[in-house]
Amino acid sequence: MKKILNRPDDYVDETLEGLVAAHPEGFRRLGDDGRVIARAAGAVPGKVGIVTGGGSGHLPVFLGYVGDGLLDACAVGNVFAGPRVSDCQAAARAADGGAGVLQLYGNYGGDKMNFDMSQEFLELEGTQVRSVRVCDDVASAPPEERGKRRGVAGMVYAFKIAGAKAAGGATLDEVAATATKTADACRSIGVALTPCVIPESGKASFEIGNEELEFGMGIHGEPGIWRGKLKTADQLTLEMLDRLWAETGLARGDRVAVLVNSLGATPPEELYIMYRRVAAVLADKGVTPVMPLVGRYATSMEMAGASLTLMPLDAELESLLKAPANCPFWRV
């Protein structure tokens, strides 16, 4: 393992310490073990609170999107491990401005179990809670089993749009409905070139040959669709677009949000080489890209690879996507 760290077991806590020290205006640390990150300004009275949570190792996902017009709080697990139920509850309490709380997170079995349990406890306390899971990774299950798909970079759009909806004063049911609509609209697919090493175990998340890539691999090294020789950026991008296109239902004249995301080690140069091809294909199909995002939005530490997310937009989604938002990792 070749990483800049002190003790592997301190990886997550020391990350959080540094993060809060660097951004005291945005973040504060809560919870009996400091595993909750909340907006420094606290819950907004009368606003629906939005919380998320999940394993560490994906910055800016999850906690990085705590901010104005975004999330209110986040429960933080160990690297690639779910957050504690008690931290999900603590995050919800920190986010609760009296108008109820939306739990918005990626579709992983452990996270679902913990957030469901958190919801049960919170409801016993009298808090109104709704839960929406993001299932955007098309490689992880066929369309007819969409509910089994994992949540990946599409979470960023769900955080942004639900955050904007809540900031606009919508009710809990309205925010949950818009979050569901966003989650339903997102489609993503990733390619992995090299693994990352999980600090606590010192082990690589998967093994892969020097000349190989895995198409459709998940952000924790979950198996993808095929593994084979490297291809050119254009070939890869076209194949990724192909996998997403049919499911998006996009037609000439439509508008679409596009995210070309680095899984960590892949540099912006390579992402722009990919975006170049995406833009050309969209132009050819007569579909307009809106507010393209190209950069590190949902990562797996030092994993090399990229993901592509498409989200067809209607007027509501587009205006919420463009609404002001601010966190240390992203400003709109």
Partner: protein, 207 residues
Amino acid sequence: MVTSQDFKAALWRWSDALQAAAPELNTLDALLGDGDLGATLDKCASNVREALLSMPTELAGILKACANACAKASGSSFGTLLAVAFLTASKGVCKSESLDRAGIVRLLDETVAALSSRGGATLGDKTMLDSIDAIARALEAAPDDADLHRVGIEAARVAVQQYRQKPNRIGRARMFADKSIGMDDPGMVAVLRMTESLDGERDTQPY
């Protein structure tokens, strides 16, 4: 009949037993899962022990305090499932101060149903659900003069043996289900250790 006093006393033994079994459970889990089951249960046990110092006197409150204690143990699924089990039992006992055999069987059945709906496992998947169900069925069928502790322990032990030659159908182990044949499910062994601890006079036995 189990009173809330009996139950509190049993919880001390329960936490001792889980902490004693932690290395064994870590080793078993390393073969099929993340290798952290013992550590997770060790933390659940120490949280429950801490909570025991300020626990309410009625069963529902005790069970709910146990659920909270397990909910802050770790992000691992087994800790959460234990919390689910305790919270289900807490809701099931309502305001009663004691439980008879039928009440215990009903709680075990409700717990299996809740664990199944939360965790996604069904009976036959080779999980702790199969052990809990085996205990419920054995308690139900036992004659009136039977030693129910002994019946429960025996059922948990037999469940581990009966599932040894079957594949794990859920969790990480399902990805190499064939390899799991011949191995004991760590969660089922955990239930055996828990059941043994409820009887103050009996020691841990090989299974």
